[in-house]
Symmetry: C6
Subunit: 78 residues, 6 copies
């Protein structure tokens, strides 16, 4: 992927960190399925299925661990 | 999401930390499916399915790892 | 949840820590499905299904990571 | 469970640590399904299913992370 | 596998680190299914299935934790 | 298991570390299903199924976290 989409794991606030975790999770899908059109179609599937949404939240939680650690949990010690 | 819903990972007690982990888990779903109505409908599905509930608890466990680390496991050393 | 059920992650022994991890795993389900009756019915499902039991053990393993870290792996250095 | 089955996370070697991780994984199941007879029957299911075995190996991997950290990865610095 | 494909976990930027995490995730599959032809056929399956893509993103997230830690989260302190 | 198969988590290179992670993942299966013959038959199942391969890669990723940490990410500081 030639675009620059991730220049730092640092964020100003925990919420921005959580939103970065969501972006990381979506990029994991985009690298495997680059077509915006296909991903949009699939979105209707998982956005209306409870277990699919839980699985998405699991990926976000895993990425949030990384982002939170990178920001020292926003404890202002880095 | 324009609302501020996560300003800190710090909580006074482990139990509040666990409840924050639940909130993080639910927000992972809300970002993907913003409709309150759809989420409410889906809730009936997963709240009555053993494996779905286990998967939810897995997400909470992952987020609780993050929250607990952010609070130094409430060991009063931070 | 108004009850106090988690006041500390510290336990005297690894085994008590493991049992706390089980409690954490069950609470992740209880917050989502508060009805004791429904949970009891679902229990018959997952307690007799190999993959469901493995999934439960996965949640416990994740929570045990947190509890073990909180107790410095019971290495008597905290 | 009144039996003492986990008194320490320390092991002499990585292999013993891995075997402790297996024990931890099985105990996660035993606490939920205490009947030896039922567990033995279920064993035939998952021991002959590729995905079930992979899921078991995932739980072991998660518990091995905990045991390995508790032993400082057997780097002889603890 | 006789080829050298992983000589370091260090990357210049977080994005290159994420791309290394993708490579690690794919290699986990390649070691189990070495046939390029079979993997290409399977790709059509998972690249068009929402849950499969989420599962892929979960593996990437797990590997990204490792790569990010190896690079000290690109905080320029290593 | 009476054989010695894991005497150290240390490896000379990241790639050897990744290959050790694969071995750990396979041993998690072998302890549960010791029959070489059964495992060989199951291999045909999961080696030709996209989701099964992703699940295998997830286990490898988890074990690679452990091996990488044990080697201080091959940063030559241990």
């Amino acid at each position: 992927m030639s675009d620059l989409w991730l220049s730092t794991l640092k964020t100003a606030t925990p919420q921005e960190g959580y939103e970065l975790a969501i972006k990381l999770s979506r990029m994991g899908i985009k690298y495997t399925q680059p077509s915006d059109e296909v991903r949009q179609k699939l979105r209707d599937d998982y956005a209306n299925n409870a277990d699919s949404l839980t699985a998405v939240s699991q990926v976000v939680a895993t990425n949030f661990q990384t982002v939170a650690a990178a920001n020292n949990y926003w404890n202002e010690r880095t």
